[in-house]
Symmetry: C2
Subunit: 207 residues, 2 copies
């Protein structure tokens, strides 16, 4: 068995990456989700350890000093980080892991772990993205426009990613992401062991 | 739309590559099979233009002189070649193409077209391979052992391929090969166009 593969998934708000990832994780065996460590208050419906680990700022800063984060950022006075230990453990067990980070986080992870495979989830058009963001009904027109502008600057950086998956149709996007994960598992680098395994009996083979 | 991708599939006799390819081609849209040009006599059940184009040796040698073959070989006095023109046409149309060649043919194609993606179909064990070859019931014990020896020398070269797909279970092997083809279609190099397409409306976008 070879080591697991780390995948990064990024995409603008409204690209549907959360929904896609939920489906992919439900369908794909031997694939784990990296739970982020964050310091903001828990929101309604959120569960500790599901998508986030909630800790205090003091504890976050202590872990940061110990070099425990693969990447982190500060947003509106709170910290968001990807802890190293679970990633290491998962990959060593032979399972694959998915990290959901923004384009800056992706850049940081790539610079530390060049073997990472990164995937950008692309909305089919700005028009569709705007509709999806408006459809949530939870944000002002101004906030939506702000998100759209951020999305545009992220889309411009999609070429930094190894793969681009267009989320026009959810089922297709899920299928494409699963294909990427599966195909990485068939890569030569991960399958070397099978050559030795198949040939191990050559000497004692019943000719 | 970007250009199509060329795939090479190799694997020892008894690896099940013919059955896998038939299934993959039936299920995968925008994927064509490269029909080999050969000079041996047509066998019972074979149809011109299905898996092979049957031509005379004279014609083959003329085409060879014209540089029409991406790779070819001579076996028991007959010629077997992969014609260039259909590959070129297919890839330019945006469709992908699969070539089935042996490990030497794969090496020749790779040296001419470094962007080719190559896949080795691996039997799960020598024991299973022997059973599959014996199960055909059409060959002598000696011929089977000859095929096994060739298989071993081919398996030793599996590491020259980009991907290795183990054919333990036909359904899984087919699914893995389709995943490789799909994932190649999501590669950055083939998806650059979508960045421009999504961003083309930024200027005239209804903010």
């Amino acid at each position: 068995m070879s080591k697991g593969q780390l995948f990064i998934v990024s995409g603008p708000s409204g690209s549907g990456k959360d929904t896609i990832l939920k489906e992919v994780l439900a369908r794909c065996p031997r694939l784990e989700f990296s739970i982020s460590t964050i310091t903001r208050a828990m929101r309604k419906g959120e569960v500790e350890g599901e998508k986030y680990h909630f800790i205090t700022k003091d504890k976050f800063l202590r872990l940061l000093e110990q070099g425990e984060f693969l990447e982190y950022n500060e947003y509106m006075g709170n910290f968001y980080g990807t802890p190293k230990t679970p990633v290491k453990k998962c990959l060593e067990s032979g399972n694959d892991m998915i990290l959901e980070v923004d384009v800056n986080g992706a850049e940081k992870v790539r610079s530390q772990l060049p073997d990472v495979v990164s995937i950008f989830i692309m909305p089919p058009s700005l028009e569709v993205l705007k509709k999806r963001l408006s459809g949530r009904g939870t944000e002002t027109q101004e906030a939506i426009l702000g998100r759209l502008k951020t999305a545009i600057s992220e889309i411009k950086r999609a070429s930094e990613f190894d793969y681009i998956v267009v989320n026009d149709n959810l089922e297709c996007a899920v299928d494409n992401l699963i294909s990427i994960i599966k195909s990485e598992r068939s890569k030569r680098e991960r399958m070397y062991y099978i050559i030795d395994e198949v040939l191990k009996d050559v000497g004692s083979f019943n000719w």
